[in-house]
């Protein structure tokens, strides 16, 4: 695939991510923060998000496996995940977190377990998609091209 085709593919892919609600305006803000002094800023922040989210998902799984569930603790973790996903523009993850917090407030175990499953699913989707996008970007850069905005 030549450079122009790659660039076009990237733009189309990125647009679809916004269209399908995986990403929102905040992700654009993130891209705008990147500059020549910090050319890897977006990848760095998103990588932090991946690490942090995986940690939180593990904590959530453990907390919800307990005999006597500490809903405050569960809520604290979801609050963190909601915050991070909102900060990078991972809209679908954020939305599940909002529902998740409501179930925590109601101390609804089933609701929480369902949300945990959903949030894991949405997280893994957005992770795969962002990784694909970064790969495309890397291909473009390696071919000597620039990333279209």
């Amino acid at each position: 695939m030549d450079l122009v085709q790659l660039q076009r593919q990237l733009v189309e892919y990125r647009t679809s991510l916004y269209h399908e609600g995986f990403l929102d305006e905040q992700f654009t803000q993130l891209q705008e923060l990147q500059d020549e002094n910090n050319p890897d800023f977006v990848v760095e922040v998103v990588s932090l998000f991946f690490e942090d989210s995986e940690r939180l998902l593990n904590e959530l799984t453990k907390a919800l496996e307990q005999q006597s569930i500490d809903f405050k603790r569960v809520d604290a973790h979801v609050h963190q995940l909601k915050g991070s996903s909102s900060s990078i523009g991972a809209q679908r993850v954020q939305k599940v977190c909002i529902a998740f917090r409501n179930y925590c407030e109601e101390q609804n175990v089933e609701g929480c377990l369902k949300c945990l499953q959903q949030v894991r699913h949405e997280y893994s989707l957005v992770k795969t998609k962002l990784e694909s996008m970064f790969q495309l970007e890397q291909q473009i850069l390696s071919a000597g091209g620039s990333i279209p905005m």
Binding site: Q29, D35, F41, V45, L48, A76, Q80, G83, S84, S86
Partner: protein, 181 residues
């Protein structure tokens, strides 16, 4: 600071050379574009003044973001992951060694933090004779009017909704980070 500005103008008027010319052009451009900042602050910015901001947030991603936003606005940034660390840095902590308190021009803190909240941190700062004049800005992902009022009443200069944008930080700089001698 106004004196310095006037002196610079007097010095530059008689001189030739691109450096002075550029300085003047930047001044004029800045004066046109500013929203509320006074011209002495602009001169200070051009001459390399970097306000020092302490950013407090327990979320790693948010810390990284706020740091970048502030750096993009030519601020020197120190981050703290909780209120206790922040107090320590400011010289109000139980573990602060003598004479190591750091001077900051603005404190921006998240509201929801484990242990001590941003609100409690705000109170501690306002209770301190040394630090009460430092502007404090609270940020939160939740838009709760009672929370906002509570913070403003306690002396927070502003309450901002997360995630922060570059325009929010620009506004902070103009409003609260005037240059000091």
């Amino acid at each position: 600071m106004t004196d310095t500005f006037e002196e610079k103008r007097k010095d530059s008027v008689g001189r030739e050379g691109t450096t002075i010319g550029l300085f003047f052009i930047r001044l004029l451009l800045n004066m046109g574009g500013g929203c509320g900042g006074d011209s002495s602050e602009e001169v200070a910015v051009d001459l390399g003044y970097e306000p020092h901001v302490l950013a407090v947030d327990d979320n790693l991603i948010d810390r990284k973001l706020v740091e970048k936003l502030l750096k993009n606005s030519s601020c020197k940034v120190t981050t703290a992951e909780n209120a206790l660390r922040a107090l320590d840095y400011l010289g109000l902590g139980n573990d602060t060694p003598e004479g190591t308190a750091s001077k900051v021009n603005l404190i921006i803190t998240d509201y929801c933090m484990p242990g001590m909240t941003g609100y409690e941190l705000l109170k501690k700062i306002k209770e301190s004779s040394v630090l009460k004049e430092v502007p404090v800005v609270i940020m939160s992902s939740e838009n709760i009017p009672t929370r906002i009022n509570e913070c403003l009443e306690e002396g927070a200069k502003m309450f901002m909704l997360k995630p922060l944008k570059q325009s929010d930080v620009k506004q902070l700089k103009w409003n609260f980070m005037k240059c000091r001698d």
